[in-house]
Symmetry: D2
Subunit: 335 residues, 4 copies
């Protein structure tokens, strides 16, 4: 059984997913695409020999489409996800699931009303080999109960359009999801601290930022977000447990000894760092659709991360610790 | 254009390639399989919904088959490769290409007579990210001209059927190919030294073995083959150049601090170590067929490695340095 | 010229310094010792063939004594340091220099009145090869201006007498000094966050603790103090600058591959970790006395660290950010 | 009890030992020095406030001298060692102990005739923390019986006066001693292989060289000697046992991430690499003299290493495997 997929949004990430579904994932096929820029949609469709449709609603309504991928502009996500649920179709939605808590809740209600999980949110780090190995170590109990996490998220540079809130909404959001998943615990409070700013940035931007999270069970997470670190793309994570610690490896590359130095490369871009995770995300998504049971990050995860992210942005502006106000987790979502 | 593939040999490696072509490689499809064990062929065919044919010759002759994969018993390889060439079909042959130098030469002649490369040999290490990165460093000139390579090939254990010659034919053969490729140089002399044997082996086996190779330009390679090292599967390689060195990384896994130790895992098996290389080998093979021009290891490589391997086995028995007697490399193969 | 040293306090650390001065430092000699436990002083004196005197004041007054080492109970430090200054003798004082800010200020005034530096405080990390190399990298400008430091201070276990304030006063105090020295910057605000407690501790103890410091120039430091981490003694420090980062190495020991693991040891104790630093601290102290000009941590450092430490303890109790109220740094101390 | 030392030879290494005995070792004092260059001896004596005597024999005969350090020109070593034994004085002799096997045997006989060990040879690697840790791991049995060692000895560059035999006599000699000590086993055969030469050398020099050693129990050692590797001083050693391996760590320095690279320094010189070992060598030598029982490398070690070294030079010239012809080890030396 081939899964026939319609893609809403053919920007950079949408094009990448179309290529992935076509070239990497077996058992899936892109059967229709759309974009607000009809010309861009046409080009994307032509590249893989498929059709461009006028609107996202056309994609969702299309009888050939089994499952929808939403990679359009963030504020449009909730509408497409709700329409997909209404149509009873699986939908993979890139973050954010919704840009308001209200929209997030509407999705949760619609999906529960439908009675079966249809929505998966694009938190691809859960498919990274390093994080998965870390979770196995934590779950095995060999380092005892987790107490602290130290995280680092650095990019070489960001463009001028990147503003301070995006350090939360676009960057830290990956760690917000992954620590919830690693710990199987919820974030209940959040705070942003503003260190001295790097001079290597556009004037308006608070960079770096030091974020602190607290979970329901009292685990504390510190996260450095530094998006103009100059030297490369660098993701670090260490979980400290009662009897030991576990830490992500650096990406493996050859070691060179030369000119009085012994060293290896640092990646310059997030793509090679998480390429295998993106691939596996879609491979497992398609496999789970074929099995009739989604296994990836749910709309509850999308909702919770959005609310935590909003609270973190609030703290960035106020400088104060902000409590996260989540609805009770429904039993439908493992609550 | 989908590449339709017929597979001769449905043992462990054959089954793995069938799975790979079916689940991992896009743009290719297994359309027929065969095996000396007809029952096993039937089961393998059923698993992916394809046909089992009676013989390898039936596979090669089948009009639906565009390209042949040969993973049968070694001594049958040459016959199937020659038949594929005669049929004008692409053929991917697992090592060894041939079990005698004469058969290897017949393949070279047949392929040249056909006038275009049809044969690729399964030296998958050329698709490993680490070796590729090492080759980029060597070719960039940043470590100067290579002078020495230090290689290690360790397996946790081998079964009783593994005998001393197999340390060359099945194990060292991977390093024999990869150093030729890394250096773009030919091996001209070979020697095996017999260290004290580990007690953790079957009585008949010389394990470990220390092999020494010399290339045409005078580069020296030492290779430890140790197939009962107990602790895991471990592949190491360091190239020493005039101004620096480059070394393969260990496979990346999380780092754990616990119980007074700081460490990571060692793989227990070659499959996870080279899984990505096997995948890429087939992805690139299929892509090169679609482009009409093979890019992987050629029948010349298969022939040369067989001759070097034979010379190395001779040295294992005689204890002496053995010269490698290769025919001149034809221009057809880049000579 | 041999420096003749009198030691006040022959507990564990005092005995270790006596051994160090006797066996490791050339050009220095212990000529008298004392302790509140006269028997213990006698034994310590006998071990190195020197005299035990009744009191610390006797040590300071002794005409044979050129320089005083104070390793007695913390609350007695200020008195002995002041008496040494009054006697015009060099004095090496283990932390804390004083247990009240008032006493610290009295020492600063006395030393300035004397007109020359006589006091050195025992912050031995400044003599560790790793921190010194880190400072060279920072000072070279190759990682740009520092913005953040991530520090970790873990002990395997602590005894029941260790209470929560000691995580600041005895443990974090080393990082408080070293970050001031690394950055050549002053800490102006401090905060302690209380994570979930490990179950592997005595009930009264908040362990781990997450401490946050801010410097005058806006650099932010996070410090994990975890004194019952079970697996060993582990000191980590990473400085994040505008264009790069620099990180302490782990202590070097052999790497073992065995039983499916690749790893090295973790030290179980602070002594081997900083043994070379303790030695160098005394070697350089004695050399600086012979040169007539102290170069190590000053009484200003001792005073500042005490005030920062007090503020941090206040935050541990209040949970709030606490501003550090230091006097202006006198020009005498490089202010 | 202070050990009074006379030093024969005030070249670079002699001066360094004088400094070490004076500044680093407690309980020892240089009381007389000499050199073929009387002016140089005078300067060396003045630097530490001691006497310069006319000849080595004067040093040995001097009643103030308890123990002799021989760091003169190699061919003079045997004479001074024999004279020291005749005088019943401890003597520390830098390598080589003797430049002919006959002289080595005369020393062994003289020392046995005296009836007590007086001679220690300057193989300082036995005092290196890494090799000591490796020996502990081997002796613990945790990696099983050793089967192979892989060694690397690289220098950044050597001067024009360095000739091919010195790669054995001055360079490999350290590995020859250390593998004997690590394995508690004797080398019985040796061979030198000549790889392609680096272009970064003086014309007369074979560089690199690949040396192979075999021990009595069949352990095989490969050793790369490469003294113009350009990038730094680099000593590597891996012991492969029946169930695991143990490998020397690289020297620890801070890790820097910068400009797309993650790396650390490579030492440029052997002095910092083995500074602590040289210090400990003298600390332990002086301590063993005070205890009346030498514990360091013996004249047997000096003799054996010389004979192995000669055999290795013979192989360098002949290209053949050369058997090592040692006398039987006397019981006096643990035979």
């Amino acid at each position: 059984m081939t899964v026939h997929i319609g893609v809403i949004g053919t920007g950079m990430i949408g094009q990448d997913h179309i290529r992935r579904i076509t070239d990497v994932v077996t058992g899936a096929e892109v059967v229709a695409v759309t974009d607000v820029d009809a010309e861009r949609a046409k080009e994307a469709a032509d590249r893989v020999g498929t059709r461009a449709l006028p609107t996202g609603q056309d994609i969702i309504a299309d009888p050939l489409v089994d499952a929808v991928v939403v990679t359009s502009w963030g504020p449009t996500h909730a509408e497409y996800v709700l329409a997909s649920i209404e149509a009873g179709k699986y939908v993979f939605c890139e973050k954010p699931l919704a840009t308001t808590a209200e929209d997030g809740l509407r999705i949760l209600e619609a999906e529960q009303a439908f009675g079966k999980r249809l929505v998966q949110v694009g938190f691809m780090r859960r498919y990274d080999a390093g994080y998965r190995s870390m979770k196995r170590v934590i779950d095995s109990g060999e380092i005892g109960a987790p107490l602290l996490l130290h995280c680092v998220h650095r990019n070489a540079t960001v463009p001028e359009t990147y503003h301070s809130d995006m350090a939360v909404q676009d960057t830290a959001v990956h760690e917000i999801d992954i620590v919830r998943w690693l710990l199987d615990d919820e974030i209940v409070a959040t705070q942003v601290i503003r260190p001295r700013k790097t001079s290597k940035r556009f004037e308006h931007l608070q960079d770096p930022q030091l974020m602190l999270f607290e979970t329901a069970s009292g685990v504390r997470i510190d996260l450095e977000v530094f998006v103009n670190c100059q030297y490369g793309y660098d993701i670090q994570c260490e979980t400290v447990g009662e009897t030991g610690t576990v830490r992500l490896p650096d990406p493996a590359d050859v070691w060179v000894r030369r000119a009085a130095r012994h060293g290896t490369t640092v990646l310059q871009d997030w793509r090679p760092r998480f390429a295998a995770a993106f691939d596996l995300e879609f491979v497992e998504w398609v496999a789970s659709i074929r099995n009739g049971q989604l296994t990836g990050p749910s709309s509850w995860d999308g909702y919770a991360v959005s609310v935590i992210s909003d609270a973190t942005v609030e703290s960035l502006h106020s400088g104060r610790v902000v409590s996260v106000q989540l609805k009770d987790r429904p039993a439908f979502y493992g609550g």
